[in-house]
Amino acid sequence: MIETNKAEASKTEALRIAGLDCFHGAVQVLYRLDLVLNKGEVLCLFGRNGAGKTTTLKAIMGLVPASAGSIKLTGKELTGLPAHEVPKAGVAYVPQGRRLFAEMTVAENIEIGLMARGKGRAVRDNVLDLFPLLRQRLRQRSGTLSGGEQQMLAMARALCLEPEVLLLDEPTEGLMPSMIAKIRETVSKLRAMDVSTILVEQRVDAVLSVADRVCFIENGRNRETVDVEELRADPSAVRRYVGVG
């Protein structure tokens, strides 16, 4: 693994993964994965389908058990914590496909987010200020929202935790361009608010526009982590690991 961020040593680490092994049943998915997320940065996990990006996020959340290695959130060990304790420690997750509680209303989905860390009305109002459209839909069943609105709600629900680290799994998947732009804008706003984000993304343009660093995952291993400026100057890594660009 090559860590090329020169300024990294001087930055505060939000999350550090070291030597992480994970299995799905008998199949090993992650192999000695190392990864560092700095405070206030957007780190993009990039790679082919099945490379282990989603498993990495699920392992951070404790939803997939780690068989070896460590995951530390600002120095605090997360591995071994029950899955329901991880969000309370300050990690929020927006799963692939949104995974909203579709039978519940928008307000109830937000309430679930607030309950995780005991946040109150002020946090709810701040989150709804980020996504004003949701304010008009509070009583609507979330399963009846459009794809873009559902993605906004999934992000709003996660932000109700006021997380230190936000995990976003393919938030632009299947959305129209205006919604993708809105999601990118929100991620940039969160960076300004010092929220550290790990973003799993398949779209090269989205990666180049919002990420600070890009981590190329291949066959469950972190092959290379590069600054996004370097990637813009020389996109050969994208072709090498994903075959596009």
Partner: protein
């Protein structure tokens, strides 16, 4: 008796059956809806409720209402505690695997039944009703206690609905029901929710049993019929649907009461079975269930 009053009497009897059935089936439905566990031992929690009601009301001297009220509070609590222990010792260890838990709950059924036979015995024993007030209608007199069963059941069903839809506990239960993995990602201790729901399901069955035992009798084999009827109700209503459970319980209870009185109890059972078969063929998710999750 003329047809009208006869029909009213049959409907009242049917509503009493519906009231008890709705509570029992709701417990089964909640456990399946939230945990995806088909609890074959559910009828035994019903039986335990009745047997404990007999034991508690016999132990308390004085007015029958005192013993009955004590049984109404204590028996469901004891049954809930037993269910919680069973959930921790058996279902959790099986990781709530749907197939394995069916086999495990069949085992629980036999263990609870045989323990009841060993410690309670094979006799059917009566429990005195808390009051014996008779309401005199123009055509016939009707047991005030039976009417109070309907009222108590309606109250409990409304309370359960309010808890599920208007409280944080209900929100947590519903989130676990819809997507347990995402629920965990939002700080919900799914294991604790499962334990609570399994205990609650058993308690609802026990409450139904305590309510009905003064007009039937406590017996160690009495859990079989409520289990079968509860399955019929949740199949028709839709597993996990409170509204469906209540509607199906009223449907089955009323048809059982009316058809049994005017024709025969066997015909009532045949019609209920036909109804289940039709639902399974034409709407397998039940009248109010969702097609897939």
């Amino acid at each position: 008796m003329h047809f009208g009053p006869h029909l009213l009497l049959a409907a009242l009897e049917g509503l009493v059956t519906s009231a008890v059935l709705a509570l029992t089936a709701l417990g089964l439905s909640l456990v399946f809806g939230v945990m995806r566990v088909v609890n074959v031992a559910h009828g035994e929690f019903f039986m335990l409720g009745a047997v404990l009601a007999w034991a508690i009301s016999t132990a308390i001297s004085g007015h029958p209402a005192l013993g009955f009220l004590a049984a109404l509070v204590i028996a469901p609590l004891i049954v809930g505690a037993i269910a919680l222990v069973a959930e921790r010792l058996v279902l959790r260890r099986l990781n709530y695997n749907p197939e394995a838990t069916i086999v495990a709950t069949i085992g629980m059924l036999y263990i609870i039944q045989q323990l009841a036979l060993s410690f309670y015995g094979p006799e059917a024993r009566p429990v005195e009703p808390p009051f014996s007030y008779r309401i005199l209608l123009p055509w016939f007199g009707y047991s005030g206690y039976k009417l109070s069963i309907i009222a108590a059941s309606a109250l409990l069903l409304t309370a359960t609905w309010l808890v599920l839809t208007r409280t944080k506990v209900g929100l947590i239960m519903r989130a676990t029901q819809y997507d347990s993995e995402t629920a965990q990602a939002f700080g919900i201790a799914v294991g604790r929710v499962y334990g609570g729901v399994f205990a609650l399901g058993a308690m609802l069955a026990a409450i139904a049993a305590v309510l009905i035992v003064p007009i039937s009798q406590a017996h160690y084999l009495m859990g079989q019929d409520p289990l079968l009827l509860s399955f019929i109700v949740v199949i028709i209503g839709g597993l996990g649907s409170l509204r469906g459970t209540v509607v199906a319980a009223v449907l089955i209870g009323l048809s059982d009461g009316i058809i049994s009185m005017f024709f025969s109890p066997t015909l009532a059972k045949i019609i209920a079975t036909l109804l289940v078969a039709m639902v399974l063929v034409f709407r397998p998710q039940g009248l109010f269930g969702t097609a897939s999750r």
